[in-house]
């Protein structure tokens, strides 16, 4: 069984002429999780969007060792952000089926595919199996969130980038989602989550972001408290 490793070095990013991330470095092994912590506006979402390739980094490198060399990290990742990417006019299963057919599957390092390749099983697993043919516009906020999460279960991708994954979820759903994260990690996958809440996962590291001062392109970043659980990287 080959394993994968994500290496992120000296990552900086600017948005709207303001530097929001400065010199962030970490390593993450397959089967491990990384929680990105820090107060509001510190750049947690920006870091996830940069890893996903939605925001271009102004400096630094991101690599997935053991992954597909011809694909960027974002193409091998699931991004689960604040928005649910659902169309109210399509039914629950049509929404999910589209993403399953559209997304290129990247099997995990140990060769396993999706946790729930079958769409109905995926919907059942997130607890909305009874809404299969209902237009997703009728779902509640928590149900929409769970439907969106079912995308991660039905298409295999080694890296999960989660932005406040448990928002709008009740305790039972949160528990269930943590179970899927554990399952994903046991299959050799990685989870990077930005969150305020303590997610009780095994094999989890923390990355504390602190505010970046000064204008864009400023020569030196302020001292950054970068702690990445099992693999610490202090990179100047």
């Amino acid at each position: 069984m080959t394993s994968q490793k994500m290496i992120c070095q000296g990552l900086s990013c600017e948005r709207g002429g303001r530097r929001v991330l400065s010199d962030v470095s970490f390593e993450l092994d397959g089967g491990a999780a990384l929680l990105i912590k820090g107060p509001n506006g510190v750049g947690k979402s920006s870091l996830l969007r940069t890893l996903a390739g939605l925001v271009s980094a102004s400096a630094g490198t991101i690599a997935l060792e053991g992954g597909r060399e011809d694909c960027r990290l974002g193409e091998q990742s699931h991004y689960f952000g604040h928005l649910d990417a659902l169309k109210p006019a399509l039914s629950t299963i049509e929404n999910l089926r589209f993403w399953q057919e559209f997304y290129e599957p990247h099997s995990l390092p140990n060769g396993t595919g999706a946790i729930f390749p079958d769409l109905e099983a995926a919907l059942e697993a997130v607890g909305i199996g009874h809404t299969t043919d209902l237009p997703s516009g009728y779902l509640s906020a928590g149900q929409r969130r769970r439907l969106s999460f079912a995308r991660l279960l039905s298409v295999p991708r080694p890296v999960w980038l989660l932005d406040e994954p448990t928002s709008a979820l009740d305790a039972a759903s949160e528990e269930r989602m943590l179970g899927f994260m554990e399952q994903h990690m046991q299959m050799g996958g990685m989870v990077i989550a930005a969150t305020h809440l303590p997610l009780s996962l095994a094999n989890v590291g923390e990355l504390n972001l602190s505010a970046v001062q000064g204008p864009a392109g400023g020569s030196d970043a302020t001292a950054e408290d970068t702690q990445a659980g099992m693999d610490d990287w202090f990179y100047d």
Binding site: R15, A52, G53, V55, L83, K87, F98, E101, F102, E104
Partner: protein
């Protein structure tokens, strides 16, 4: 099995899924397919009331009125082409999926045209009756709209990509796109009127129209994809 064969089959698979999704969204409630046709109807029907019951005059300006109506109806639905996806987060996933964004744009445009452009083409012969067009002119307008409206959608996609992050970007989109659509309008109308004229050639402007549409198929997706890639910031 060779890699390229797998890739081709794979591309056909996701392209089909995207086309079906976009087409469904276009024709379902709130998708804008019916709105476009109704707007086309509204624009064309006000002309006889404004111009008056001068049948010869209506027949002379009929092709131009139909073309302008189709242009405005096309622009009406285009502002939501990418904006709806951006607002619900789908655009992020489409951009980072690793699928060719140019191809994604092209497929979205194709589905959008089938849902909103094709009904305009089909409505044109009926609306020609309001404008007292001869049967030959009716056929010519319908044919030129069939050839020319894809170019309107594809040029519009560029404007939709550029204005995707703006609230109320629809007006700006129209201002950006109308200059690009003027050649389409000129050749479309001149081919339509030439069909019933003894002097003007029909084939030359029609071929120019085809050329513009082919150009739009190449330029539109590339430009719109470039705009969308920079919209993530």
């Amino acid at each position: 099995m060779t890699g390229s064969m797998t890739n081709t089959r794979d591309a056909a698979h996701w392209a089909r899924a995207l086309f079906i999704r976009e087409f469904r969204l276009g024709v379902r409630v709130g998708g804008g397919a019916l709105i476009g046709v109704l707007f086309f109807l509204a624009v064309v029907t006000v002309f006889p009331f404004g111009v008056g019951p001068d049948m010869k005059m209506l027949a002379r300006i009929g092709a131009a009125v139909l073309w302008i109506g189709a242009l405005l109806a096309t622009l009406l639905g285009l502002d939501r082409l990418f904006q709806a996806d951006r607002e619900d987060g789908s655009l992020d996933l489409l951009v980072m999926s690793g699928r060719s964004l140019e191809l994604v744009v092209l497929i979205k445009c194709a589905a959008h045209w089938c849902a909103t452009g094709l009904p305009l083409v089909l409505a044109a012969p009926v609306l020609s009756l309001f404008m007292n067009l001869e049967p030959v002119a009716m056929g010519a307008v319908t044919l030129t709209l069939l050839v020319g409206t894809p170019a309107l959608t594809l040029f519009g996609a560029v404007g939709a990509g550029v204005t995707v992050a703006l609230r109320r970007g629809g007006v700006l989109l129209s201002i950006l796109v109308i200059p690009l659509c003027i050649p389409v309008l000129i050749f479309g109308v001149s081919a339509s009127t030439a069909a019933v004229s003894d002097f003007a050639p029909f084939k030359a402007p029609l071929l120019f129209l085809c050329a513009i549409s082919v150009l739009a198929v190449v330029v539109g997706p590339v430009a719109a994809a470039a705009a969308l890639r920079n919209a993530g910031d």
